[in-house]
Every structure is written in C-alpha cells, then in structure tokens.
C-alpha cells in the first residue's frame, strides 16, 4: 500500500470513528446499504462494523423508529408482558457507527445496488442487502383482506398494534365464546408459532374463560414443528378446550364467519394468519423469483443468484432443506452474508463451507417452554446447506427450566443482533 493510500484510509477510518454517521459515500470507504432492521438486517449491520473494524460504512434503513421483536410476542397476546418487552432500539448499532435512517423503501434498483425511499432519497452502495421479512398474501383468501381491514379478523403475525388488538379481543371474549386460529400452508414465519399461540390461548381460556373453546385449524397435513411435543401438550394440558384439525385450509371469510372445505366456523375471535411470501419491497421489485414468493440465494453468500451484489436475508429467502424462518436463523444468515461481503470487498475468497445453528424456544404455558435446535452444514455436492445428520432435536418435554432458558435466549439474541 502506498503511503498516500494508507494515509487516505486512516483519514477515512478517523472520520468514521469521529462522526459515527459520517457521509459514507465520502472518502472512498466501502459502503453497504441494508434495508430492514429486524434480526437479520441488524445482525448484518453489526457484524460488518465489528469485523471490518469500522472500515466498511453501513447504512441501515428501517421504516419504524424501533424494532418490535416477534419472539415472545405470543406471551403478550395472553397478557404475559407488554409491547415494551419486545421493543428494541437501534442505539447500540448507532454507537458502532451504523448510520440508521428511518424511512420507507419504495423502490429497489438491483443493478445499481440502490434503494429509493418514500421521501425521494436514494441510497446506493457497493453491496445492497434486503432483509424485509415476510409479506402477507391477504388477497389469496376471498374476504380476508376486508375482514382484517375492518378488525373483524386479526393476524398478529408481526408484533405491534395487532398483538394488542388480539389481546383485547381475547380479554373481551364472552365465557362460552369461540376462538379460531387458522394456520396457513408452510412455509410461513416461525413454524412452531401458531401452536405456541394455541397453547397460550388455551391456557388463558382455562383460567379466565373456562367455558370458551379454541379451534385450531391448520392448512398443513400435520403440526409443522415440534409435532410430538405439541401433540402431547394438546392432549394432556388442553384436552377439552383446544380442538386441533389438520388439512383444513381457510377458503373464505364473510364477516365473522370463516369458510373451510367442509364447514363454516362462526367465531367471536378470528385469528386468521394469511399465507406468506417475501416482504413487499422484495416482491414489488420482482426479486422474489421462486413462485413469485421467495428469494433464491446462494447459501455461501446469501447473494441473489441473478443479481450480483444484492443479498437477501432471513424470512424472505426460499429456505434450504430443514431450515426454519426464525429470528435465530436470520441472525445466522446475516453472519454468513457479512463474512462473504467483507471477503469480496477485500478481494479474498469466501468461506467455502458456512455453518448455521438454529435454536428456538416455544412456550406451551406461561411457565413452561421447549426448544427445537438444528445445525446446518454446507453440502458441496448439493450446493446447499443441510441439517447435520444425528444433530438437532426437540426437548422431550416442556419445562419451567426451559422457560427460564427461553428468556435468556431472547436476551442473548437481542444483544448479539442489535448490540443491545
């Protein structure tokens, strides 16, 4: 390196360190633009800053002023905790020098690795990372969008106002009333999530509305995650209050009535979770190429296969075999992507064999939880990541100990992802 270029890089480093959010386009520092400040986007921003020792400038664009975490949100639905417990600021990332921009991405220019914001701003970098989470296909079921708009049905599948709306509806449920939870066809965000919610709502009904019933209607042929555990819990803890029915897909919604193939269900609370696809910004940009729903990425880099320099993380990807759409997995995607982006910016080879580890906890009651874990190793022959043979598994039973571990897991995942 010539003394001149060395001096220039040191000046760039100094400027970044001093200003924190110095204009990244200036001074020649590589710049990465990240759209979406959930677990994936935040983790990516954090690890790019840490691993480059501040040498790479990172701009994180997020619509909301703070993140609302989905893990633990089912507890809030049944009154165990508040939205404040799920709220995560971006101060930790800002202190690491990430430039956090609040704004809504309305356009993606993949060729220029740029995004356009609703207020007209344009952000471009050497790399563009899209982490939009999931979008909801509410138009896929006739009447669903209208019922959701009118508040006759609620999804509460992203933490926020709908979480509180569902909680309020449950609190107002007459004893002897009916709650319906409808599970969309996989893949959807958080495979065990609907069954966790069913358990917690069933427990809530047992305690507060003992004559009420919960119908859990599942578009899938069976419970899609932690099947043995939930089957056992449904039968043992919630017999008589929870009725589970697989192979039952929501077909239409009219008022407070949900139509299935063979019957109609009139319920007091309709928690109808819509089928899902990659978040709207990805879908709108035509980058969700798999069935028009999910992004097709190379698992060694998380780069889109047909858009060089554009990476997609988290729930928006077409998952590799056995890979859940989870906050932990988005965190792990981000680390693979951060390492690959830095290697490429340095002109070095990427990690030839990435590893990802997933651990997720589900509550089956307010004081009992269980985990599912899996390890995903690169398989060169199949050019994908696959669950490691003989590894992974589910807790044999839910326990109070794992409920405590679940809370520690949540704290750790937030700290690791958001520099909290």
């Amino acid at each position: 390196m010539s003394p001149w270029s060395r001096r220039r890089s040191l000046a760039a480093l100094g400027a970044l360190a001093l200003a924190g959010c110095a204009s990244p386009a200036a001074r020649g520092a590589p710049h990465v633009v990240v759209a979406g400040g959930g677990f994936g986007g935040a983790t990516l921003a954090r690890y790019l800053r840490l691993w480059s020792a501040g040498r790479v400038a990172v701009t994180l664009v997020e619509r909301e002023p703070q993140a609302l975490c989905c893990p633990m949100s089912n507890l809030v639905v049944v009154g165990q905790g508040t939205l404040a417990d799920l709220t995560q600021g971006y101060g930790g990332l800002t202190r690491l020098g990430v430039r956090v921009v609040q704004g809504e991405v309305v356009g993606v220019d993949a060729a220029a690795r740029a995004v356009r914001l609703a207020d007209g701003r344009r952000l471009a970098g050497q790399r563009l990372v899209l982490a939009p989470g999931v979008g909801f296909m509410t138009d896929a079921v006739p009447g669903l969008a209208l019922a959701l708009a009118r508040g006759e049905a609620v999804q509460a599948w992203k933490a926020g106002p709908e979480t509180l709306a569902l909680r309020a509806q449950l609190a107002a449920l007459p004893d002897g009333g009916v709650v319906l939870i409808s599970v969309p066809r996989a893949p959807y965000r958080c495979p065990p999530g609907p069954y966790e919610r069913a358990c917690l709502v069933a427990e809530f009904l047992q305690r507060r509305k003992p004559r009420a019933k919960l119908l859990l209607r599942d578009a899938n042929a069976e419970i899609t995650s932690k099947k043995a555990l939930f089957t056992q819990v449904f039968a043992q803890r919630y017999a008589g209050v929870l009725e589970y029915q697989p192979n039952t897909e929501l077909r239409e919604v009219v008022g407070r009535t949900a139509q299935f193939d063979f019957d109609a269900v009139k319920a007091d609370v309709l928690n109808l979770i819509a089928p899902q696809r990659a978040g709207d910004l990805l879908h709108g940009a035509g980058l969700a190429r798999i069935n028009g729903r999910w992004a097709d990425v190379d698992w060694r880099t998380l780069a889109l296969r047909d858009a060089p320099g554009v990476h997609v993380l988290g729930d928006a990807t077409l998952a590799a075999p056995g890979m859940p759409k989870s906050a932990t997995m988005a965190n792990q995607h981000a680390k693979v992507a951060a390492a690959a982006i830095l290697a490429e910016l340095d002109g070095k080879p990427i990690n030839p064999a990435p590893l990802l580890i997933n651990t997720c906890y589900s509550f089956v009651a307010a004081d009992a939880a269980a985990h599912v874990a899996s390890v995903h190793q690169w398989d060169a022959a199949e050019a994908t990541v696959k669950p490691a043979a003989g590894a992974g598994g589910v807790s044999p039973a839910a326990s109070a100990q794992e409920a405590r571990l679940a809370r520690a897991w949540f704290a750790s995942l937030r700290a690791d992802s958001f520099a909290a």
Binding site: G347, K348, E402, A408, D416, S417
Partner: protein
Amino acid sequence: MHAAAWLLAATALLAAPVWAADTAARDLAATCAACHSAPAGTPDAPPLLAGMPAPAMQAALTAFARRERPATVMHHIAAGLTSAQIALLAQWFESAPKPAAARQAPQGGQENSGAVLRFLESQPR
C-alpha cells in the same frame, strides 16, 4: 533485496487470497454468539465463551456430542459439529477477548465465571 521491497513482498503474501484459518474460526464462533451473548446479570444465561480454556471446551463439546454429559440443548448442537470444528472453536474462544459489556458490568465477571464453571463441570440436571 531492498528493505522496502521485502516489506512489499511480505505484505503481498499476507494479502494472498488464502481463506485464513482465523476467519474460519471467527465465522464458526459467531454462530455460537446468538445464544451466548446475554448481558451480564441475565438469569439462567448460557455462559459467555471468551476466555474458556481450550482443552476444557473441547472436552465439553465432545462429551455433549456423545451425550455423555447432561444438557438441555447443547447435545443437539454439538452433535452437528465436526471434531475439526470443535477444535477450531476451542482455540478461538481461549484467546478471544471478553466482550466489553461483560467486563464493565458490575459483578458481571463473577456471574459469568460461575456460568463458565457450570458449563465446564459435569453437573446433574
């Protein structure tokens, strides 16, 4: 050879496109951080791993993988790691700096060392 030329040659070697072992270890270790980064004082938190002696961590992970050691979740994870990956992780964490937050937090060191001991000592559930 002129000293400056030597320096240039050495720099070129260091920058040669070889995927460095320390990056491999760094990337592996980052997978653990999702669960092993709880702020000091978090009840029931898995231990922070930085600074653990390598032989002890290697033995612990190997025992978890063989189900010779009680665990709630670590047996599910360790069984998915190759012995080479376990060795790399153990070496990395032994020399990894402790996170600033853990060092600065009052009593954090004490609690973390307790968690480390629980991790390293076989303990009935």
